[in-house]
Structure formats: C-alpha cells, structure tokens
Amino acid sequence: MLMKMQNIQVMSVVQATTTNADAMPLYLLLKKEMTDDTCIVLSFKDSTPLSSSFLNTAIGNLVDDFGLDYVKAHLKIVQCSKSVLDTLKRYFDNVTKVQDS
C-alpha cells in the first residue's frame, strides 16, 4: 500500500527558527502527520538559520516520540540553502552519534 504524502513549508508554519517556542507549531504538525503514518515532504525554502534549540523541539522531539529510523523514513527534506542543509546534516549526524554511543 502506498504511503500518504503531505507537503509542508516550514516558513508557512513557523514565524522564526531560533527558539524552542518558535519550533512548537512545526513539531505538533509533524507529530500529527507521523502519527497518521504520513510521509512528509518538508520544504525549507527561504528558511532562516536553524538554531539547536529550534531543531531540538522540531526534530529531536520527533526522534524521541517515534525513533530515528521512523522519522527518517517519513521525512523528505527539500529546498534547503547550503547553510540550512549543513545544519540539518550535522544535526542528524549528532542524533545518530548519540544513539550509537
């Protein structure tokens, strides 16, 4: 059976990408979609830089809720600037390192 798909534009959901509070609407939306077993195409088009606090709430909480493999299987990250891509790569690398340690 094909997995459901949902497109989400980060900057349409959040007002900024600096604090834990900024990330909360995105986390709640992603959690809802993942709970429904939906695959999310998450666009970072025109995103401002991502702080570790923002990522902890938006992504780290999902990893705690569903596990890293589930999150990776349900998340397709697209339209990142180079700096946003580097930040996201480093973040997922760190999540993996911590899980493996």
Partner: protein, 297 residues
C-alpha cells in the same frame, strides 16, 4: 556612590572590579550611582556588556544612574553611538529600533528579551550582510547569537537577563560578539545538576569543558540536548575565530589556530555569571547563494 572605570586593566582584573562593585549593591540602599569614565580612553564590548549587567542590577534596585566623561570625546561618541549613556534614562525606549546608531559598525546595546531574540538575530544578520559583507552569508553570526541567547534564557536564571554588543572591524573583517549575564554561571549550573544526580562535582574548569561535550546537558528544560555550545564551538573553528568564556572561577578560551584545544586560567575572584567574547572572521563566511539542496538520509 561613584565608580571609577578603568578599562585599561586585564580582563581578570576587570571581572574582579565588576564583582566588587556588585557587592556594594547587596544592601539595596544606593540612591545614586555615578559611572566615571574619565580614566578610560576606550572600552571594549567585553567590558561594556559586563558593566551594563552590573549597572542594570543597580537600576532594578531603584538606583539612579548617571555618567561622567569629562573631555573624553571619542569615548563619549562611541558610548553614545551604542546608546549606552541613554540606556538607563527614565524615558528611554530600549526597544525602539535595534540598530539606529551613528557608528554603523556597532549595533546598539541590547538587553536580551526572550520574546524578541528571533527578531534580533535575523536583523543582526541582515544588518551586517547588507552594509558590510556583500555576498557573504552571515548565518554564523545569526546562529552564534541564537545559541548564546538561548543559553541565557534556558540555563542562566539571571535576574537582569543579559546584554549583548556586536562590533564589526572593517579593516580586518572581524566581527566581535560580547554577551554577558549575571546568572548562576555555567560551571555552577553543571555542578548543581551533577549534585542532583548524586554524581561527583567537577572543578569549574572541568565543568566548563564538559559543557562543550556533545550531548551533555544540565537539562534546565526537557528539550535540552547539550548541542548549543558544541554548535558554537564548530562555528568558531569554521570561521577562524576565537572564543573566550568566563564563568564562576575559570576563564576558558580556544581558537582555530590552536585547533580548538581548550586553554584558560583560574580567576582570583569568582564571577557569578557568564561572559562570552567571540570573534569571527567574516572572510571565512560562505558565499551567499540561491542554490537549493535536498537532504538524503
């Protein structure tokens, strides 16, 4: 009460001065505080943000603040450009614009407000990109400020929040960030956390170094994962920068040339708070680009 400012002293002596000055405020009975700059010729952001925290501590206790500079015209102009001399005036609007200074390389003194930090970091990035950095991407400035501010808001428990000053040096392309709070200090926060867990306490030096460990967090809030200072360190090293951090009884530093190896020294006087000075080389910033990428897991 009058405080004579001498900014020509070492950073450790300055910290001792700040702490001694704070002690005089403990009774809360100081009606007026005159800050006398007549012995100073120039004052660095590192000194100004810690001085601002100390003055703010007096101000919130009801002390009236005034300044004297005598004939220090250059210093006066610099302090005016950062709105330092007006900051504690009764009717001064601290949040009426962030960057309207006559000295455009300096952003005005800003008291860190948790409801405005997203706005501040973005505006700071845009400000320097549009005025000085042309094609460079100032994301490292944005993220550094965000990590420093979140650190204060989530961990410091500072009664005066904190203060920030940013200074750009066009001649060499260096960008200096100074951020100070008067909270518990990073070393003490970590040792309080270790004590709560029944673990052995660390020296202040060891505790501050531990704060840079990937995934070590004092868990002040549940979302904390301990990646903020690691992120900061990566940015400093990537941008050929240096970082100095004073907290409690230790001053830690590292830089790109030393390949990130921690150095530092014990302070003679304990500092109850945390003070960061970060210097980034904007020549090492990436070039801005409209290219877009997807992340492959």
């Amino acid at each position: 009460m009058k405080l004579q400012i001498n900014s020509n002293v070492s950073k450790s002596k300055w910290i001792a001065f700040i702490e001694q000055s704070r002690c005089k405020n403990q009774s809360g009975s100081i009606d007026t505080l005159e800050i006398d700059f007549s012995e100073s010729s120039f004052i660095e952001p590192f000194y100004l943000v810690s001085l601002a925290c100390m003055i703010e501590e007096y101000s919130v206790n009801g002390t009236i603040i005034s300044f004297s500079l005598f004939n220090k015209l250059e210093l006066r102009e610099y302090l005016l450009s950062g709105y330092f001399l007006e900051f504690w005036k009764k009717d001064f609007d601290r949040y009426d614009g962030y960057f309207a200074t006559s000295n455009s390389t300096t952003l005005r003194l800003w008291k860190i407000d948790s409801t405005r930090i997203s706005e501040y970091v973005q505006l700071a990035q845009t400000y320097y990109e549009t005025r000085y950095l042309q094609e460079k991407d100032a994301t490292p400035l944005n993220i550094s400020l965000a990590e420093l501010f979140n650190n204060i808001i989530e961990h410091a428990a500072s009664s005066v929040s904190g203060f920030v000053l940013n200074q750009y040096y066009p001649k060499n392309g260096k960008l200096k960030i100074a951020v100070c709070d008067l909270g518990v200090g990073i070393a003490r926060r970590i040792n309080d956390y270790l004590s709560e867990k029944g673990e052995v306490k660390l020296s202040d030096k060891e505790a501050i170094i531990k704060a840079f460990d990937l995934s070590f967090s004092s868990k002040s809030i549940p979302q904390n994962r301990g990646w903020g200072l690691t992120t900061l360190k990566n940015i400093v090293l990537h941008c050929n920068g240096t970082l100095r951090l004073i907290a409690n009884s230790y001053c830690l530093s590292f830089n790109k040339n030393g390949k990130g190896k921690f150095g530092g020294f014990e302070l003679k006087n304990e500092f109850c708070g945390t003070l960061f000075e970060i210097i980034l080389d904007t020549n090492a910033f990436d070039t801005r680009s409209e290219d877009e990428f997807d992340l492959d897991f």
